[in-house]
Symmetry: C2
């Protein structure tokens, strides 16, 4: 099902990872972002594409970020700072810096604190889009830590029984290392479907599935519906998104509640706000790291993870299905393929790169 | 919808909170639990009933705990100990102690660590049933902290596309204080429905709703079905539970993934195991506390919480619904009512108390 959001090969041009990195870095530099920060941003976007998380890769996000820099909504040279901290915590004001740049810097702080006292938890206010949430969580892996990240977004999702959006898609990501198995990497919106997935579905001509959105009055739509015209990814004008669970009977209060948890741990714990004001471009983030050796032997943990993950992927499949996976496994497989064979970009996206490279006087090297 | 699981008034006897506390404490003492621990256990169970979380109150759980003590599965006098710790973390071996007794003690440790270094995170191995997960998380509230708790349970839930259960219902609870509003208290299984809810539904004659369970071969049942005979709460023999989201199309990989997160943070991070072995009575827990003042001013946080929670409860309702609530609000209202008017117990449950008090030579004072 993840694959339904992958660009079809016949519509795609495969581009080399390094060429894409170079091009994206150049675009960020043209936005007056420093070279180091531009490389960081390119790594976040290209990693999403390598892992098959196209909803948060270059095709959906880069043009939105360019628009954000051009409008002044995103600060290319933020004076981000730690507002308050303890041995295990920090609260960072990111001064309008893009989340895919400030997130990794905050995560480094969390990792350092976890190294010192076992865990590090960092809340980040006045942020901008965080990209693929698991990018930040995955930074913990090479340090033998469990990483967590979440982000409070502007409202696009209904509370259970509500007629107006009150929470964002507010994703949660958790990454945990294994020994021989690809790491466990959970990354999911607390809505049934991420806002960006709708944008992709729109490009791919896929219908909205039952339980993804509600009618204008808040009634869940439980039959497939074509994507309404004028849909803006992440900020639906007409059809609000439903929280994970879709209806109260099937648990939408759980998705709604988890979205609230994200708003509390990111925005409210930072002392600044929450996602409720429609149209506000302000995102809040939360990143954290748990040092495994603060709890148990790293080797024991990783062996148990291998056992656990194999037991999951070896589950006998239900009729009509080929196999059972765990979070992070299909993404690791896609990463393997795309690292070698290149990243498939929709022809429209390649055209956009040609145009923007031309416009910005960047050498076009993608095809 | 929570109310559909409340016992009907015509089937109920209202008992006084203090009488129920005394009786439950006496029952635990007859199980060779110390008076202090017995009071702690009674508080956890009666608090669940006061809050209307009857699935985790005396009616479902007490007889299961008595059976567990009698069979030797639960240790009445556990020699629980901290296996490893850092300034912000601890790993506890609970030596087969009941989770509603060891959980609060572990949470005290987490709170103390949070007071010292900002956050405290504790994993607990070799545990037994944790009761209502939010009981532990809510302990943080009076310390101006955010509390979290989760518990890895024996498998009863299918992975997405799987034909055999591999994860437990693995609930997550998060509690955060407000100023004038009742606190936010999230507490939910990562399955569509908690195993214990099925037991309650069985007692109340409620059908299983679409998307709650799968067929024996793993195919999600998307129409209402009567409760199958012989259903054991939490350990379905025939119809496995579905993860939150019900089907892949409507996000079951998210509920499944969150269940895995709980297994990782509770069982695997404790270095001992995970929920996968069917029939194993071993639960693993995770509790944590975030000191608000480690991140921001407590007063600012609480005021923002009031704004946030009011904004949620003031959401205009969709057609056919009276109001929008937030997690913890209905439970706070039920608590108000039951603290004053008594706790309604099903006549069957009152009969059980009469029988067990008689059997154990405990004075019967409930009706």
């Amino acid at each position: 099902m993840l694959e339904q959001f992958h660009v079809k090969e016949e519509d795609a041009v495969r581009v080399r990872e390094n060429d894409l990195r170079t091009t994206v870095t150049n675009v960020f530099e043209k936005m007056n972002v420093s070279t180091g920060d531009a490389r960081l941003a390119a790594d976040a976007l290209v990693t999403a594409d390598l892992r098959g998380v196209e909803s948060h890769g270059v095709s959906n996000m880069l043009r939105a970020y360019v628009a954000g820099y051009n409008s002044g909504e995103i600060n290319p040279n933020p004076n981000w700072r730690i507002v308050r901290q303890t041995a295990a915590t920090a609260n960072i004001d990111s001064d309008g810096g893009l989340g895919i740049i400030i997130g990794p810097k905050s995560m480094e702080i969390a990792i350092e604190k976890a190294r010192n006292v076992g865990v590090g938890m960092v809340t980040i206010s006045n942020g901008r889009h965080m990209g693929m949430a698991s990018y930040h969580a995955m930074m913990a892996l090479k340090h033998d830590m469990i990483g967590i990240s979440m982000t409070g977004c502007p409202p696009s999702v209904l509370p259970t029984f509500g007629a107006e959006t009150r929470v964002g898609t507010n994703p949660i990501a958790v990454a945990a290392p294994a020994k021989d198995e690809p790491p466990f990497v959970y990354d999911a919106a607390t809505s049934v479907v991420a806002g960006n997935k709708i944008g992709l579905a729109s490009r791919l001509g896929v219908d909205l599935a039952p339980g993804w959105v509600a009618d204008e009055d808040g009634t869940p739509l439980m039959d497939p519906v074509p994507i309404p015209p004028g849909w803006t990814p992440g900020m639906p004008r007409n059809n609000p998104l439903l929280p994970l669970g879709s209806t109260r009977e099937s648990g939408s209060h759980k998705g709604y509640g988890l979205a609230c948890v994200v708003d509390i741990l990111s925005g409210i714990l930072s002392g600044t706000g929450f996602g409720m004001v429609p149209g506000r471009p302000n995102f809040s983030h939360f990143v954290g790291a748990y040092s495994i050796e603060a709890f148990t032997e790293v080797d024991t943990f990783k062996s148990l993870m291998d056992d656990f993950l194999r037991s999951l992927r070896n589950t006998p499949p239900a009729p009509g299905h080929d196999r059972v996976v765990y979070a992070g496994l299909p993404e690791a497989e896609t990463f393997q393929d795309r690292s070698v064979n290149g990243i498939p970009l929709h022809k429209e996206v390649v055209q956009w790169f040609q145009d923007i490279c031309n416009e910005m006087s960047i050498p076009y090297i993608l095809s």
